[in-house]
């Protein structure tokens, strides 16, 4: 582990690197450049940055127009607004025309923390993953964020990258590479599978450690790429372990867990338990405290794994 960093900070760093290496990269923000971390790019490359003000719908449409001229466009805001306010523009002007626009949105999920329910978007993955042509990525740490940003920049077409406000451990290896449609197995195990994304991946690894002390070997999957989804790795996990617990700071309905359950139900049925927000909104608080409060920290994940394993062993 090499310290703690918020994925939004790594995004800002990755953008700066892109600005240096590619003059076709343009960045838009909607008056949140200090928070989304696009500000450093704006200062370094002012001619390729447009602050669109508090107007997300127009930002997304403008991004599409810029992309149509051959530019690679990054559009940032808080995830609540980029996805929520501008959904229709994202559908009509990014996904439908297959515009080369990367929507990189920060302050997603519960760990947005103190700002509370109005800012803790818990529906964005559900909304974005149903859009044709849209790739959906939730990096697990700063290192993966830098790799994912490089990957989306290098490949033509739309992508949604969900970023976090809270500092979290950087735990993936130095040489980690992001690959579309690939679920990396972070830890092997044959008793149960823990499939997590974003800030929930590290707690899932901690939960696996706890379970190991009890003799339970958990496989841990990093479902950073929710779309395209690596079905083969999920099917293998189902066949090998017979039980899957999914973990995300998102509504249980429609998010990563639902994406996993869709594959498992159709192709390799097994016991699936989806952890997330159960059809409710969040509230103000410290990010880590909120994860614990809503059952998404390591002890909660371990407990859910024990319960799911018990069901599997009962054959129910």
């Amino acid at each position: 582990m090499t310290g703690q960093v918020a994925t939004r900070e790594s995004y800002g760093k990755a953008l700066l690197a892109l600005g240096e290496s590619r003059n076709d990269v343009v960045v838009l923000d909607a008056d949140l450049s200090g928070s989304t971390k696009t500000k450093a790019f704006s200062q370094q490359y002012p001619e390729r940055f447009f602050n669109m003000g508090v107007a997300e719908a127009n930002m997304i449409g403008t991004a599409s127009g810029l992309a149509s001229t051959g530019l690679t466009v990054f559009a940032s805001s808080f995830a609540m607004f980029a996805v929520g306010k501008a959904f229709e523009q994202v559908r009509q002007e990014i996904a439908l025309p297959i515009a080369n626009v990367k929507i990189c949105a920060s302050h997603a999920g519960l760990t947005t923390g103190e700002d509370g329910a109005s800012h803790q978007v818990l529906e964005d993955l559900a909304i974005m993953r149903v859009l044709p042509n849209m790739r959906v990525i939730v990096p697990a740490d700063g290192r993966e964020t830098e790799a994912a940003i490089a990957a989306v920049a290098a490949s033509e077409g739309p992508a949604y990258v969900r970023l976090s406000r809270m500092k979290t451990p950087v735990f993936l290896p130095d040489d980690y590479e992001f690959e579309f449609g690939k679920i990396p197995v972070l830890r092997d195990g044959s008793d149960i599978t823990l499939a997590a994304c974003g800030v929930c991946v590290h707690p899932a690894l901690e939960a696996a450690e706890m379970l190991a002390t009890e003799g339970i070997q958990a496989r841990v999957l990093n479902v950073a790429c929710i779309k395209p989804l690596d079905e083969a790795t999920l099917i293998a996990a189902s066949r090998d372990t017979g039980a899957i617990v999914t973990v995300e700071e998102h509504q249980r309905r429609g998010g990563m867990g639902s994406a996993v359950a869709e594959v498992i139900a159709e192709q390799a049925p097994c016991h699936v338990r989806r952890l997330g927000m159960d059809d409710r909104f969040g509230e103000s608080g410290d990010g880590a405290e909120l994860l614990a409060h809503f059952g998404l920290d390591a002890p909660s994940i371990a407990q859910a794994a024990r319960e799911t394993l018990a069901l599997k062993q009962k054959g129910r």
Binding site: G61, G65, S68, L71, E88, Q89, Q92, P97, I98
Partner: protein
């Protein structure tokens, strides 16, 4: 380096060559022909929007055939071309008729409008139709795409212009004013928005549904260069397009006062003709009114 190059340009330098004066008699003949095409396609598809298509025919005929739009039908994706975004995408029949006349695709395709397998979708779609620069149809979106295209010219240091077709009904969308704000802020002077001010929207007269007041004054208040023209006076439209090209440091709006359904007596200024296709008899009468 010349003085003009040394001066800090607020926007990319836009084309400033006066267009050769068009043959307006010829343009009038073309407009009539395009109106006949619009009605024939809508009749064939048995759905679609004749009112605005006929209402903006003279404006768009002047734009495309009056020497303003710099496009190449043999190379629709030419990166230096002028762009046209039909933000009120439902009036695409007139755009399709124009693109067919310019030979972006065969004229015979026009009657496939809105049918399964057609290249002519119910609303403009870049994947299907050569010469269409943006996917539009949901009101409010296209104007922003046009702004992005115009900013793209600035970054690429190109001198193409972007024309956006919009309308008074569309101006009820908040996004239009987000765009208006941003275009003025960034002094985007290679962007010209052509507003169809026909005073009618689907549910009736705009003054009854959602009064737009003085649209020209609103755009002016946002910092735009604004002109008002009779949208059926092609000389006036041509002059306004010429004037817009000379404006520096401001986006331009041309408020085109038009008659919904222009050219077909029973359609003119009748709200129901916003989005209904003509029957057999109605088509016959319309075509006879529009005969050369």
């Amino acid at each position: 380096m010349s003085d003009t190059e040394a001066a800090p340009a607020p926007a990319n330098t836009t084309r400033n060559t006066p267009t050769m004066t068009p043959d307006f008699d010829k343009l009038a003949v073309t407009a009539k022909e395009l109106r006949r095409d619009v009605l024939t396609m809508l009749h064939a598809s048995a759905s679609g929007h004749p009112g605005g298509s006929l209402g903006m025919t003279d404006v768009f005929t002047t734009l495309y055939f009056g020497g303003h739009m710099n496009v190449d039908p043999k190379n629709p994706a030419w990166e230096d071309r002028d762009r046209f975004v039909l933000s009120n995408g439902h009036i695409c029949p007139i755009l399709y008729a124009i693109l067919a006349k310019l030979e972006f695709f065969p004229h015979s395709e026009l009657i496939t409008l809105r049918k399964l397998g057609s290249n002519l979708q119910g609303h403009p779609d870049t994947h299907f139709t050569k010469g269409v620069d943006a996917c539009t149809g949901s009101l409010g979106n296209g104007v922003s795409v046009g702004l992005g295209m115009a900013l793209g010219a600035r970054i690429a240091k190109k001198d193409y212009r972007v024309y956006v077709g919009s309308s008074d009904g569309e101006s009820q969308e908040g996004q239009v004013w987000e765009m208006a704000s941003a275009a003025a802020h960034y002094k985007v002077d290679n962007l010209t928005v052509l507003i169809d001010r026909n005073g009618i929207q689907i549910d009736g007269f705009t003054k009854d549904v959602m009064d737009q007041g003085d649209l020209a004054a609103k755009y002016a208040a946002f910092g735009w260069h604004v002109q008002e023209v009779d949208g059926h006076d092609m000389k006036a439209v041509h002059a306004a397009l010429e004037k817009a090209k000379t404006v520096r440091g401001q986006p331009q709006m041309i408020c085109c006062h038009t008659l919904l359904g222009k050219g077909v007596s029973y359609m003119e200024n009748v709200p129901k003709w916003h989005g209904v296709a003509p029957s057999d008899d109605e088509l016959k009468q319309a075509l006879s009114e529009l005969a050369d």
